[in-house]
Amino acid sequence: MNEIFAVAGVVIKELYRRKDFYVLFILTVLICLVMASVNFFNDSHIVRYLKEICLLLIWICSLAIAITTTARQIPAERENRTLFPLLAKPLSRTRLLLGKFLGCWLACGLMLLCFYLFFGALAASREHHWPLLNYLQAALLHWVMLAVVIAFTLLGSLVFTAPSSNITISFASVAFILLLARHLNKVALQLPEPRRSILYGLYYCIPHLELFDVRDLIIHDWPPIAWTVCGVAALYALAYASALLIGACLIFHRKAIN
């Protein structure tokens, strides 16, 4: 377990040494502050448009950081020839992968913490109340969703030859799921057989990442979700992340490192 945490620690250090997060965070802050300075009919209490823009930027930034950070983990180790000494420690391939996954996931958690603190401060500056429970749920569900994305990208980094292709495919897949997965069943019901069964099958197979996107509930001040429902959603995401990690481990074990 210590070895996994050691690898994870290196990944976290890598994230805060790189400039990606700082650039995206400052960009998010600047855009939000510029949008906050816009005056709409002399009403200083209008806030929901600001919350929507801020949350959209947080989602885009978190996906960008999660996918790009994860996609270059294994290829960079291979390219720099540090993979051989790592595996000679001795560190099993499974532990290396788990360490990489945990590192990326924890790093994303730290990043989300900063982003959601800023979001909370921004919203509180206009709303003068702080629905902490709602924000906590949104951040946790977001973080759990990133576990699936990271596991998927880690698997992709072992399947695809170049990190660029992995990043592109991961982004496209995640965007497809977030935008369309919720509606696949409605489309499927309009189709004749066997296309209906194929599409419905796809609907059941894909991880429904859109479940974890509770931005509309946060923006429009809906009451918090029941914690049991959140727990089931977390289990759902962790099951997919585990399945993807097992797949990644199996591929990594069979893959020639050099």
């Binding site: 009919f41 209008i46 806030v47 919720r182 069943n185 409605k186 609907y203 479940l211 959603a233």
Partner: protein, 306 residues
């Protein structure tokens, strides 16, 4: 050694040509009608006429905010959302909605569908009725639709309904009469012949500023514009005609100009969906004209009195 004179001459000739071309093009560009650089509006400089495409998107976005996020997508049944509810509820446009507005999601199709409904707004609410909180006393939340309406107007200054709907919510639920009037005047500057904006501006003067003389002038101008633009059409905008004529009729009746009131009531009756109700009103006014003493309670009117 090769002479460097020829390349230098060619370079000089090219520079002269470039300078001359630039001077000529600049003059032409300044006088060109399609020159967007003179516009102070960043959006129009960046997007040109393509911005109008996005205007409707933001108008609908405002309606989605009006429903606190509970809104049908292109994959859902949109029959009950043909006319944005925030526009229909403002009384500035006629509604074309039918079907169940509360249940466009239908029954859950599978367990994922049922489970997913916990994670997005799945209950029909209106912001002017408290929104997601359900606090019926709090209608001020309707202010949240304003950024999108403002953006929609910026993107398409010729979309009349954006001005009338925005002005209604500004003055009725946010108490911002001055801002509503200013916004309508901006709209009228962009659309000088709009009877819809004139009518709404008349309502500002009648209902909020209690300046009935100006309200009358505006409604009369609106009626003239309506007759000029809509009367020749096979399917004219009856909704606004009835609104304008009824408001004018009630204003004249209130001011004691019964003959004028009857003339407007005749117009009102000619296109009304319930002419019998208008006839009752006409009879009542005639009775009042005949006997100056109080003529009993006034009959119910389909439209709001000025």
């Amino acid at each position: 050694m090769r002479s460097t004179k020829l390349p230098l001459l060619i370079l000089a000739a090219l520079l002269v040509l470039c300078f001359g071309l630039a001077a000529w093009l600049d003059l032409w560009f300044q006088t060109w009608q399609g020159n967007r650089a003179q516009s102070a509006d960043v959006l129009s400089v960046l997007m040109g006429d393509s911005r109008r495409i996005f205007a409707n998107h933001f108008f609908v976005k405002a309606d989605a905010y009006f429903h606190s996020g509970y809104y049908p997508t292109v994959f859902d049944n949109r029959e009950a959302f043909q006319t944005p509810h925030m526009a229909e509820d403002s009384g500035t446009v006629g509604g074309q909605n039918h079907g169940d507005e509360t249940g466009f999601l239908g029954q859950p199709r599978d367990w994922i569908d049922a489970f997913s409904r916990q994670f997005f707004p799945a209950r029909h609410t209106h912001l002017d009725e408290g929104g997601a909180s359900g606090d019926l006393g709090d209608s001020s939340q309707v202010r949240e639709i304003m950024p999108w309406l403002r953006l929609s107007a910026e993107l398409n200054p010729n979309d009349i309904r954006t001005y009338t709907v925005t002005a209604y919510w500004l003055r009725e639920r946010m108490g911002k009469v001055a801002e509503a009037e200013q916004f309508l005047r901006d709209g009228l500057r962009e659309n000088p012949d709009s009877y819809e904006i004139m009518y709404e501006l008349g309502r500002v003067y009648s209902e909020n500023k209690h300046d009935l003389a100006r309200a009358r002038n505006l409604w009369e101008a609106a009626l003239r514009q309506w007759q000029k633009q809509e009367a020749p059409k096979p399917d004219p905008d009856k909704f606004l005609f009835i609104e304008i004529a009824s408001h004018l009729a009630l204003l004249e009746e209130m001011q004691g100009n019964f003959a004028q009131a009857l003339a407007y009531m005749a117009l009102w009756k000619s296109r009304s969906l319930s002419p019998d109700e208008v006839q009752k009103r006409i009879d009542y006014v005639r009775h009042k004209m005949a006997s100056p003493a109080p003529a009993g309670p006034s009959p119910q009117t389909p439209s709001q009195a000025p």
